[in-house]
Symmetry: C2
DNA sequence: GCCGGTATTGTTATGTTATATCATTCGACC
DNA sequence: GGTCGAATGATATAACATAACAATACCGGC
């Protein structure tokens, strides 16, 4: 999947990059860079230094395969890397999982505010929601 | 203003806390914690250690006088600390200023998505917009 | 095949942001 | 004045991220 997209785009999904992406898939949760470093370390026997992972992350983010959760300093795979999108992250404070949702209406409102009220030129949006997911929220009585 | 609110609430705006708040007002921009430390240091002659400033920030955030911009690791005064509100930050990548805007509609959409699509219980929202402000955006031809 | 240029990775060091921990001081109240 | 809890001081260290330069891999043309 990511391999295909990379081929189309003429960029390379090298071993290091693929490994980081795989780790994030396996984890299923937002994961810190240093946790990735440690895991990679264990799998590779060779030392893995921070720049290795940060460079891979940078690449994966640029290509849209991974998002950074700013409020967590953590990284998570994107569920639809094939197209640009305006997404919202719902992050469970309890179990740590994050859900990614697309909602153009939110992006549109933000852009509307930016244009009409501020004359602000939007280049990117960070929308992260804290709370508890369905599993971690006790049912209403 | 902040003093009054603190009295009402039965909490104390101590010297350290007031100083940090003042610095943020004077700065007018999102400001990093270590920049605050340095400035405080200069004004106080005595050494100012990180926990001092981080504790003050924590207090000010809890009281709603200050917001943290997660995408910047910076802190900025709140423009209406007297009431709870759902706000959006527009952060200029060029000059660094941030504008705070209230828009219930965005919060409502987010909550709607959370409830209807995910069964997610929202406790907080981070909405930060990157881009360039009116002053820093070249006029359209 | 080989050469040369570009992209990628390795390595070391360091910068930046944030917190844990425990000792000390301050301030309100009895 | 003594006591208790809140706040601060001080030291150390954790957690997150990047700069800089050397070494290597990859890919085109020859």
């Amino acid at each position: 999947m990511a391999t295909l997209l990379c081929n189309e785009r003429g960029v390379k999904l090298t071993a290091a990059r693929r490994q980081v992406l795989e780790l994030l898939w396996e984890s299923g949760c937002p994961t810190g860079a240093y946790e990735l470093i440690e895991t990679l370390q264990q799998r590779n026997a060779r030392p893995v230094n921070p720049p290795t992972v940060y460079r891979a992350l940078e690449f994966l983010i640029t290509q849209g395969f991974v998002h950074k959760l700013e409020s967590r300093n953590a990284y998570v795979v994107c569920i639809h890397p094939d197209r640009r999108h305006a997404c919202i992250f719902f992050i469970c404070a309890d179990c740590g999982v994050s859900a990614e949702l697309e909602d153009e209406r939110v992006a549109d409102l933000i852009d509307e505010d930016a244009n009409d009220r501020l004359g602000f030129h939007v280049t990117g949006r960070v929308v992260e929601v804290q709370g508890t997911c369905r599993q971690c929220t006790p049912a209403e009585p």
